[in-house]
């Protein structure tokens, strides 16, 4: 009996862990609709947005060119801080500190562009569940650029 219970419990736990990985996080917090994997308009990278505390962060999880011309993993070579230029781009947290403001908008965060090492103030507007307007700007929102990000399907765990 106890062995059966143990087996059932472990099975349930494994199943829970797998499901929580395969499916989008279900949450009643409307800000959590931002959580997911997104592709910027240039298609060169994919960004996974998660929540830490009450803020949202996005890290690079895929690059179209993961290695540099020498075959080494690409690093943040354009970072204005020389000490950070060896940090790998894959895994880099390029969206930081976004806070949900209601009305499908997240703000107070920053966006980092590894192509030129620039950091912008940012706002995120969810146009629909699968489309984000990511606006990076300088000082005032009128002076900036909006990039459209599209939601990607969540990955399935690969069978080994």
């Amino acid at each position: 009996m106890l062995r059966k219970l143990t087996f059932l419990a472990v099975s349930a736990v494994i199943a829970f862990g797998t499901l929580s990985f395969d499916l989008p996080q279900q949450s009643e917090d409307p800000g959590d609709r931002l959580i997911g994997i997104w592709e910027p308009s240039n298609g060169r990278s994919r960004i996974k947005i998660d929540r830490i505390g009450n803020k949202y962060y996005g890290r690079v999880v895929w690059l179209i060119e993961s290695n540099d011309a020498d075959g080494n993993p690409r690093t943040d070579i354009n970072n204005p801080n020389p000490d950070l230029r060896n940090v790998p781009l894959r895994g880099f947290r390029m969206c930081k500190d976004f806070v949900y403001q209601g009305d499908d908008q997240w703000s107070e965060g920053t966006l980092y562009d590894p192509n030129n090492g620039s950091t912008y103030q940012g706002t995120i507007t969810m146009r629909d569940m699968n489309t984000l307007d990511m606006r990076g700007y300088i000082g005032v929102e009128a002076i900036g650029r909006t990039d459209v990000w599209k939601r990607l399907k969540m990955p399935s765990r690969k069978k080994k």
């Binding site: 106890l2 219970l5 143990t6 419990a9 472990v10 736990v13 494994i14 829970f16 862990g17 929580s20 990985f21 959580i35 997911g36 592709e39 308009s41 240039n42 298609g43 060169r44 994919r46 996974k48 998660d50 929540r51 830490i52 999880v61 895929w62 179209i64 060119e65 011309a69 354009n78 204005p80 790998p88 894959r90 895994g91 947290r93 562009d113 192509n115 030129n116 090492g117 620039s118 912008y120 569940m129 699968n130 489309t131 990076g136 300088i138 009128a142 002076i143 900036g144 650029r145 909006t146 990039d147 459209v148 599209k150 939601r151 990607l152 399907k153 990955p155 399935s156 765990r157 690969k158």
Partner: protein
Amino acid sequence: MMRNFLKLTTAAIVLASTPVFAQTDGTADDDIDWSLYEDLGFEDESMKRYANAKIEGLSPAKLISIGYDFQGPYSIAAGDLTKADGTTLEGGDAMQVNSTAGIRAGFNLPVISQTNLVWQMGANYWNTSYNYAEAPTSSDNPLHQSLSEHGLRTSGISTTIYKPLDDTQFILFQGSADMSGTYGASAMPAQYLKYSAAALWGKRPTEKKQWGVGLARTYRVGELNYIPVILYNKTSANNKWGTEALFPARVHVRRTINPRNMVFLGYELQGQSFRMYENLPGFEQLRDEDLEIRRGEIRVRAVYEFSLKNFIWMSIQAGYRINYRYDVDRLVSGPDIYRAFGLIDGTPAYAQMNGLTNPFYVNISVNLVSP
């Protein structure tokens, strides 16, 4: 036994839950299976990927620009001023200009910036003042007195539309309406606006290359012309070198020291048709004709652009200004004359054929660049 079961269950829950929390926290990268993110389709399968308007390594677009242009000493040889029937009204003469200088300001801001459409609107103002070595008088050819007293200026509006067709093809349209002339505080009537446009179809086969072909209506060499245009932007594999070209308007080779420091070598064609407006001294004898200075020049140059702080960039260019045309044209019945580089016979003769020697020049501007 029950206690052991609870311990085991608790431990299993903690262990199994760790990856869940890891996705929302800074998991060590070694623990992440990056291959999971390789083959992902859009959640909304009707979505498409579109060719981006820019390529990797391209110099940043200037949103706002304020600059100053300065040409060194040169001479203007004004030709005979003639009537349409060939009668000479004023003889030609040459005068020395110490410098030609003026403010150049403009902005170009996005109106719509979406994956499938980019639309920008802009405006510009260029002023050119002529500083003669000796102030021209009524005894000199009237061209000198007009330039000395009035100078030339251009103000206009422009629009750029980028429309990707799919993930590699795109259409680019640029249009502008410019008011160019000798006008001063009061602007000229809208009937003197000059319209330029270019439309291109292009491809962006890789992240580091885009090209396009099209047709332009332009005044860049002074006269109205319809010419083919070729867009070609390319960045080398190591991002250190590049080409930025919209031939024949401008072609530059780029050396990227780093993304905040770039050096360019190349040329640009600059020009416009300037209406000689209102009471210009000496030209009263031709007031019944519409006169325009067809100014076109080639600027062979080196340009250094760098970030002063964040998105504030400075551009310093130095080069040689080569005169292509500086002739006074007559618009007998009003509309523009299309000469097709002299290939069309029977077009009216110029009212005045002028020659300029070629000076060195510098241009310095401070720019707010696009994120």
